[in-house]
């Protein structure tokens, strides 16, 4: 393998958060940037108190799930039945332990449910009511579907129904083009972190795509696609057109490129370009390495992101912001 790229400005603990790569309208920019900054700050609080990367990532994602501006937890988009159906993943780079949930409802924080799968079962992935049962067993409160539904999500669903005749489109959801270019619909949230012990972790959470068929699972809870991490390489969380991300195991691919000598930024960029070339589709990737080096790239119109480390905070949402 090629000599690994090393960050010239190696930092210790660090967290990167993203709020989804898509064609974010101007009206939502402020809320998106504020949201990711808040989430990164929450994660940083954990890290600077010597907390684990895993807990920091969970804290950041919980914050985004609770924030109705993002398509995760509260504010999640609605499926074809008008209900919220969520997916999430959380992974630990130290031992490759992972928890993932798909098609869950009635819980406010799918990322925490994913952590229960990881820590309370011998399994990695669980779907639906089988997964939800763990929430009850942990003594957490269920919530109604309604408490997760926002006006914005309802409106987007109405728009979807207006333009997509469900009889004609019995099997198909949004046009592949729309999804592919991130021009329709909200996105995923995610975070990656490295703690003071050099352990990395990643997490991703989503409500999926508006009007999706009940039971549709995208990339988010699929290990290697929505997220992947390994203390030997780094941690990655992805966002974008789910089916494309899945077909190229995007998160694992980005880390594979780092194993072959690319910098995190180059790896994110190359992985996204290859995805577009092979299967179409746009998206975004955030990466952190055990030495604190970060990489952020996206091929959609915008992607809100925030970084916290001992060197301070950075954030952005426009492509130009990546040049910081």
């Amino acid at each position: 393998l090629a000599k690994p790229y090393s960050c010239s400005d190696a930092m210790a603990a660090c967290v990167v958060v993203h709020g989804g790569a898509w064609a974010i309208p101007d009206t939502l920019v402020v809320a998106n940037v504020t949201g990711v900054q808040e989430a990164a700050d929450k994660a940083w609080t954990v890290l600077s108190a010597n907390g684990s990367a895993l807990s920091a990532v969970e804290a950041a994602i919980r914050c985004l799930e609770d924030n109705p501006s993002f398509n995760a937890g509260t504010g999640a988009v609605l499926n074809e039945a008008g209900k919220v159906e969520m997916d999430a993943i959380l992974m630990n780079g130290k031992d490759l332990k992972c928890g993932a949930v798909a098609c869950v409802s009635g819980v406010p924080n799918p990322v925490t449910l994913a952590r229960l799968v990881m820590e309370k079962t011998d399994h990695v992935m669980m779907v639906g009511s089988g997964a939800e049962r763990l929430w009850d067993e942990a003594g957490f409160q269920r919530i109604s579907n309604e408490s997760l539904v926002t006006e914005a999500a309802k409106e987007e669903f109405q728009q979807f129904k207006k333009f997509h005749n469900t009889v004609d489109n019995l099997f198909k959801s949004q046009s592949a083009d729309e999804m592919s270019t991130g021009s329709l619909g909200h996105e995923t949230v995610g975070a990656v972190a490295v703690d003071n012990d050099g352990n990395v972790a990643c997490g991703t959470s989503t409500g999926g795509i508006t009007g999706k068929r009940v039971g549709r699972v995208g990339d988010v809870p699929i290990i290697g696609a929505g997220g992947y991490c390994d203390n030997a390489v780094g941690a990655a969380s992805t966002t974008g057109y789910g089916e494309s991300i899945l077909k190229v195991t995007l998160a694992r691919k980005a880390l594979w490129l780092i194993e072959h000598g690319k910098s995190p930024k180059e790896a994110a960029q190359t992985a996204l370009e290859e995805m577009h070339e092979k299967v179409g589709g746009c998206g975004g990737i955030i990466i952190v390495k055990p030495d604190g080096c970060t990489g952020i790239h996206f091929t959609t119109k915008r992607m809100p992101w925030a970084v916290c480390s001992q060197h301070g905070r950075k954030h952005g949402i426009e492509p130009e912001d990546l040049h910081q």
Binding site: G128, F171, M179, R213, G215
Partner: protein, 315 residues
Amino acid sequence: DPCMAVPAIVVHGGCGLLPHDLSIRERYQRGAEKAARAGWEILTRSAAESSGSTALEAVEAAVRILEDDPKFNAGRGSSLTKDGRVEMDAAIMDGRNLKAGAVSSVSTVANPVTLARRVMEQTDYVMLVASGAERFAADAGIPVTSQEEFITDMARSKLDAALRNTGTDHDTVGAVAVDKDGNVAGATSTGGLTGKLRGRVADSPLVGSGLYADNAVGASSATGHGESIMKLTLSRLALWLVEDGRSPQEATEEVVGLMGRRVDGLGGLILIDKSGRMGINTSTECITWASFNQSDGLRSGLQNPIHSGERSCMM
């Protein structure tokens, strides 16, 4: 070069402990052979009879045979969940365009691999689970039946044994193939782990873990401890190693070894590259496998056929 042989197919009927009973071993091996033969028949159809990817047709046909065979842990004969139900997973992937279809936690469809193919070909999605997947089956006109059809006495007694911690488990079936035109495809199907919690999904239906196929490299299908396979995205990893220059057999052995060292998991992998070279390896006692190509004809076995150190036409 006799080693470069397309078309070719490799199938597996799962890995695990070697059954004591010789007649059981025999039945597993014959079952895998039947699947490989069915795939071969499709791969060698004349050009007039086939269009598109016969690799895709072949892997679906091979896996359907294993699903219908109650001895294998897929379709009929699937292992049971903790509460005695059948919950099946399957996936199929087309190396031409990286399209894939996957279903998980389905209970009422006789051939989950065919349902997975429909997801791939009739929707913009890759994966559907549980009742959503079954609704799609109904919408797609695929016959649904009660899950009792798939529950066998053997599965019931395996569940008893597992709950009492005394059982052995075979698992997952899969197939990989390359056709005359160099198209590759892979498919997997399973009833999952005996006694699993409801809603548990393991590697089989997950692109990159249970299977992967890419015309640029080859196709792979994994079997064994699902969670361990997932943690390494085993199928994807093996193909990257082939891209990096390993032979299929070397790549297969390397990822199986890594799985043991890194996450303490047992399992196996079959892999075929775009030239028809094969890799088959397991860290368990047993892997039921069968292969078919022009130079070697039909081959089959219950244990690792060969190691990369030994010279072979196949590997």
